[in-house]
């Protein structure tokens, strides 16, 4: 009589253990299971110097094949942009003016967007991933539109500008896109352009789609704050460094928008994203020479550069490499 009862008891205990193991396995890969709120609250602003008040400790990321941790930057369970992210540009202000506010600058920046995909610098971003895959390093320029205006922007009107471009059909509504609002130097972004920041990236749900967008102003408005050299490798004239200064900030925002598009993926304990950790850190540089990869002004001024792609030299800050212990890197 006792033997069958013992078997049943053993079977029940065995079943209980298996259920417990299964339950714990499910919890371990689903750390946010207790709450289904929107993971992106309003009004998060932080600088590259970090803000411990605004960040919470990193969780131990679900270590799947795509998520690598332990390199000085932490994974917080949000998605990265995989595949080939599309970049769209809204040219805001007066881009048919003088200095660096010209059609030539528009062409140069769009060429920059068209060729940065797969570059040595962009591939540094491929060290970041989420649990379904890694950033590829590919980028595609998806098109642009012009918004002629003399009005300054605020955070609110910036979002409206992006929204209008989508609603009018000037640009497609693309959840795998990054929309850059690039302003001419007569335009201010009143929430802190030039006094606090050179650019920023953020996201909003517009028309039911998660839209990632960035602001980068023409840094000829504040060369001492946002340019590393007054005449860069792509300057159209001496002391007109806007193209190169903007290209540098653009690359910064692009790396971050791809590796932390919803502001909940990759940043360190101080709140710094990958490019923040290397802000204005350029690494080894070379001097422009007469090989056609710099403008005549850039060559004449012996401008410095550290990246070459698309038949142009650029001076671009390094990006934080999420491998080998982590470091600012120009390439993998």
């Amino acid at each position: 009589m006792t033997a069958p009862f013992g078997k049943v008891r053993f079977a029940l205990a065995f079943l209980f253990v298996i259920l417990a193991v299964n339950f714990m396995a499910a919890q371990a890969v689903r750390p946010g299971a207790s709450n289904g709120n929107d993971p992106v609250p309003d009004d998060v602003t932080h600088s590259h110097k970090g803000n411990p008040n605004q960040t919470l400790p990193a969780v131990t990321g679900p270590v799947g094949q795509a998520v690598v941790t332990g390199n000085g930057i932490n994974y917080h369970n949000g998605p990265v942009m995989k595949g080939t992210p599309n970049v769209y540009v809204i040219w805001y202000g007066n881009w048919n003016g003088t200095g660096s506010n010209t059609a030539a600058t528009r062409g140069a920046i769009e060429h920059f967007f068209s060729t940065i995909g797969g570059s040595a610098l962009e591939l540094v971003n491929s060290t970041y991933g989420d649990t379904t895959g890694n950033v590829t390093g590919a980028v595609r320029f998806g098109g642009s539109t012009i918004v002629s205006s003399s009005s300054n922007l605020s955070d609110s009107s910036l979002q409206t500008t992006v929204s209008n471009a989508l609603n009018s059909g000037a640009l497609p509504r693309d959840s795998n896109g990054v929309y850059f609002v690039l302003t001419s130097s007569n335009i201010n972004e009143t929430s802190g352009f030039c006094t606090q920041y050179c650019g920023f990236h953020t996201r909003a749900t517009l028309g039911g789609v998660d839209i990632k967008y960035a602001f980068v102003g023409n840094v000829d408005r504040c060369p001492s704050g946002c340019e590393i050299q007054s005449t860069g490798p792509n300057s159209p004239a001496t002391n007109v460094g806007g193209i190169d200064g903007m290209a540098n900030t653009i690359s910064h925002e692009l790396e971050e928008a791809i590796s932390d598009p919803d502001l909940n993926a990759w940043f360190d304990s101080s709140g710094q994203e990958n490019a923040d950790k290397c802000n204005f850190n350029f690494g080894a540089t070379s001097t422009c020479n007469a090989n056609g990869l710099c403008t005549a002004s850039g060559t004449s001024a012996r401008a410095r550069y550290n990246q070459t792609f698309g038949s142009h030299n650029y001076m671009l800050q390094q990006n934080w490499r999420n491998s080998g212990g982590g470091a600012c890197a120009q390439h993998l």
Partner: protein, 182 residues
């Protein structure tokens, strides 16, 4: 027969459990579709690329805070102008002079943690504002926050703090950076 049924059941439960775990192993989806209007008095959440000027004065402010905490007289002499004074709300409307301020203790705290810095920069003058914090001391202490405006002057290439405007504020609850745990 019973054993076979039991083993098959166990296998099925294991498979179901592992599959359930795998399906939850995807990255979190994009945030909810509710559009959030931007409050013009609060700005919007964003991740900024700080200016070079902010970087430079951030380092100066941290050096000053460190010199305070270490009572580093040469460091303080380098960073504080002789005519340095502090304006803060008090009963008489008087400024606090350099020596009195340095000698004062807990009643006149010197913020050591800095966030939200902005710099208005001119050739020989910079106006720097930030939120400063003093950490809680002891188990009963409370962290305190201050809104600080500093004016720095460039004396022959050496930036010195000439005036500080400091007011304690009700602690601002910083919105937490999303962690994916929400």
């Amino acid at each position: 027969m019973k054993r076979r049924v039991f083993l098959i059941s166990t296998l099925a439960i294991c498979t179901w459990g592992l599959l359930a775990a795998q399906t939850k192993k995807t990255a979190r989806p994009a945030p909810s579709p509710a559009a959030q209007p931007t409050d013009p008095l609060q700005g919007s959440r964003k991740v900024i690329t700080a200016t070079r000027t902010v970087g430079a004065f951030w380092d100066l402010e941290l050096s000053l805070a460190e010199a305070f905490s270490k009572k580093d007289t040469p460091g303080l002499n380098k960073l504080l102008a002789e005519e340095f004074k502090v304006w803060r709300p008090n009963q008489t409307g008087s400024a606090i002079g350099r020596e009195d301020w340095l000698a004062s203790g807990k009643g006149n705290p010197k913020p050591t943690r800095i966030v939200q810095m902005s710099v208005e920069s001119y050739p020989d003058l910079a106006i720097v504002h930030f939120l400063g914090a003093v950490s809680a001391s002891g188990s009963k202490g409370k962290a305190r926050q201050f809104f600080v405006v500093d004016t720095w002057e460039n004396h022959d290439g050496n930036w010195q703090l000439v005036t500080r405007y400091q007011a304690e504020i009700a602690p601002i609850i910083m919105p937490a950076r999303p962690t994916g745990k929400e």
